[in-house]
C-alpha cells in the first residue's frame, strides 16, 4: 500500500543513476537483497543518493559506537517515531549483527521504561536541575 511504485530490478536497470546506488548497496552489504525502502526511494534519485550516502556514513562506516549499538539506538528511535517498517528492518539488522534474545529484552525494557518516565516528567513539568546543565 505504498504511495509510490516500488522499483523492480528491471526498473532499476533502466536508470543508470539508480542502478549505481543499488550496486553500491549490494556491494557494501555483501548481499543481493535490496529491501523495499530503497525500491520506493528510487522514484527520486537525489533523495535516494543522499539517504544512502548518509546511512552508509552513519550506520556502516566504523566509528566510536559499534554497529550493534547503533542498530539498538535505531530500533529505539523507530519505535518512538512509530515506523513499523523501520522497526522490522532494523530489528532484523540487529539480530544479523548478533543481538541476543536477552539484549533484545533489555532494549524493549529500556524503551518502555524511558517512555513511561518521559511522559510523567512532561505531565509534571519538572524543571531541569542546575546540576545537569553544561558548563563550557
Amino acid at each position: 500500500m505504498a504511495t509510490v511504485k516500488l522499483w523492480t530490478d528491471s526498473d532499476v536497470d533502466q536508470s543508470p543513476r539508480v542502478k549505481a546506488v543499488f550496486d553500491d548497496i549490494r556491494a557494501t552489504r555483501g548481499s543481493d537483497f535490496v529491501n523495499n525502502f530503497w525500491r520506493g526511494l528510487a522514484n527520486d534519485p537525489a533523495t535516494l543518493e543522499r539517504t544512502w550516502n548518509g546511512l552508509k556514513e552513519v550506520m556502516i562506516t566504523p566509528s566510536a559506537l559499534d554497529p550493534l549499538t547503533k542498530e539498538l539506538i535505531y530500533v529505539a528511535v523507530s519505535t518512538v517515531n512509530g515506523c513499523g517498517y523501520c522497526i522490522h528492518s532494523h530489528t532484523a539488522a540487529a539480530r544479523a549483527k548478533g543481538m541476543t534474545d536477552a539484549q533484545y529484552g533489555d532494549l524493549i525494557a529500556v524503551i518502555g521504561m524511558a517512555s513511561e518516565a518521559n511522559r510523567i516528567v512532561t505531565a509534571l513539568g519538572i524543571p531541569v536541575d542546575p546540576e545537569f546543565e553544561v558548563t563550557s
Copy 2:
C-alpha cells in the same frame, strides 16, 4: 514551572514512605544528590515506588546490555518523545558512565538519520518485506 510541589529534603523527612525511596536512591547511586524528577514524584508515593523500582531493575541491575548502552538508548527515546528534562538528565548520566564526545556524536547522528528515514518510510507507506518477518 512544575504542576506539583517539588519536595525538599525537609518535606521528605515527614513521610516515611517517601523517605524510604529517597534513602534507596541515595544508597543505590552512592550519591546524596536526588534530582527533581523524584522530588515531583514524591507527591504520589505509589507511583514513586513503582517508578523507582522499575528504573532500578531496568537501568541499574546488571543485565545483558551494559549501563552505558542503556543510557544511550534512554537518551534516544527521550529525544523522540520530546522530553527536555530527560534528555538533560540522561545525557549527564551517559557522560558519568564514560560516554566520550565521539560516542555522543555517533548517538546524535543515528538519532537524526533514523528520524529522517522513519518519516520518509512513513510518508511513502513502504510495505514490510517478507524477509523481515519472524517465523517461529
Copy 3:
C-alpha cells in the same frame, strides 16, 4: 517567546470580530481572565472563532462525559502531544473543576503506564487479536 503578538485588551478593543469572541469567552467562563492562547489566536480571527466555538461545543456544552473527565483526557492528550502550555492550562482547569490530588496521581500513573505499554507493543509489532475487532 511567541511567534506572534499576544493581543492586549486594548488591541482587542480595536477589532469588533475579536472582541465578540473575547466577550463570549468571558461570559461563558464567568471570569474576566483570558489566557494567552486566545491572545495569540487573535491574530487570525477566523481560526480564533472556529477554535473557540469548537472548544466550547466539545469541552463546555453538557454532554455524555462530565467536565472533569474531559479535562483529564485533555491533559493526557496534551502530555503525549508534548504541549507544555496546554498541560499547564488544563491541569489548572481540572483542579478548578474539582480534581483531587489522588485523582491527579491516578491520571499521571495511567499516562505513564499506557505510554510504556504503547511503546512495547509497537516495538514488538503485536497483531490485533480478532476478539478486539468490531462486528457491525
Copy 4:
C-alpha cells in the same frame, strides 16, 4: 507480523514463571482469554512480570478514578502515541466497562479538539500565563 514469537498456551505451560503470570491474568480478569500483548511479552519474563504488576496496580486496583475513566484516558494516550493495537484492546475494554456510544463520541471529540489546540499552541510558541503556575 510481530518481531517475536507469540506464546501459545502450550508454550506457556513449559515455563512456570510465565505460567504464574498468565494464571494471575486469568484469575484477576475472571476470563480465560489472554490477548496477544502478553503472549509477546512472555519472551522476557522479567518485563512480563513488571508490566503485568504495574498494569494491575494502576488500572485494576480500586483507586481515586473509576475503571472506565482510566480506560478513556488509556485510549486517549494510545491514540496520540499511535499504537493501533492498544487503541483496539482498550476501546474494547472501555466498552466492556460500560462506555456508551455517546461517551465514546465525546472521547473522540476531546482527543481531536485537544490535538488541534495543542499543535496551534506549539506552532505559535504561546508562553505559559503566570496564573497557571503552581505556588507551593
Copy 5:
C-alpha cells in the same frame, strides 16, 4: 479494522442529519465518492458536522495559500502524526490538485530533512537565538 461501523449509503439515508453532511461533501467536491473517514465519523453527527465544516473552511474555501500548498502541508503533518490513512487520502488529493512527481519528491525530502534536524536540535537542547524572537 475500524473501532466503529463504517456507514453505508443505506445507513446514511436513515439519518437526515448525517445525510445533509454527505450531500454537502458530494456537492462541494463534485464527486459521488465519499471516503471512509466520513463513514466512520457518521456515528457521531455533531463531530461529523464540526469536522466537515472546519475542513471545508480551512482546506477548500479560497484563501491566502493555494489548495495544493495546503495539501502538501496536510501530508507533512499527517506523516509526522503517523496517520497512514491521512497520508494516503491527502497524497491522493494533492495529486488530484496537480502535484507533480518532482514536487512530491521535494515534499518527501523536506519532511525527512526537517525531521532529522528537529531531532538533533532537540537532543542538543539548542537555545533559541534572540534574532528569532518576535518583537511586537
Copy 6:
C-alpha cells in the same frame, strides 16, 4: 541549556573543517549571522558537514517547490515533531522569504485541522479506501 558547547566565532577559527562549513553558510545565505544550531553541530564536524550539505541541497538549491513553500512544510513538520527552536528559526525564515500574515494564518489553520483529523482517524482505526491505493 544546551547539552554541548555552542561554538563562538573564535572557536570556529581554530578548526579549519568547521570554518569551511561556516564560511559556506555565510556565503550561501549572504549574511554574517550563523544561528545556534550550527554552533552546536560544530562539536561533530562530520554531522555538521552532512547536515549542512543536506539542508542546502533540499532547502536552498532551486527545485520543483519554491523556497517559501518548503519553509511552510518545514514549520509544519517542526511543529508536529515538537521542536520549538526549529519552529522559531523557520517561521523567521518563512517571513524572510515573503510569508504574509494571511499565509501564516492559513499554515496554522491547516496544521491544527490536520492534527485533529489525524488523531480522530487513528482513534477510529479507519481503513484505507481502495480508491487511494497506488496502482503502478
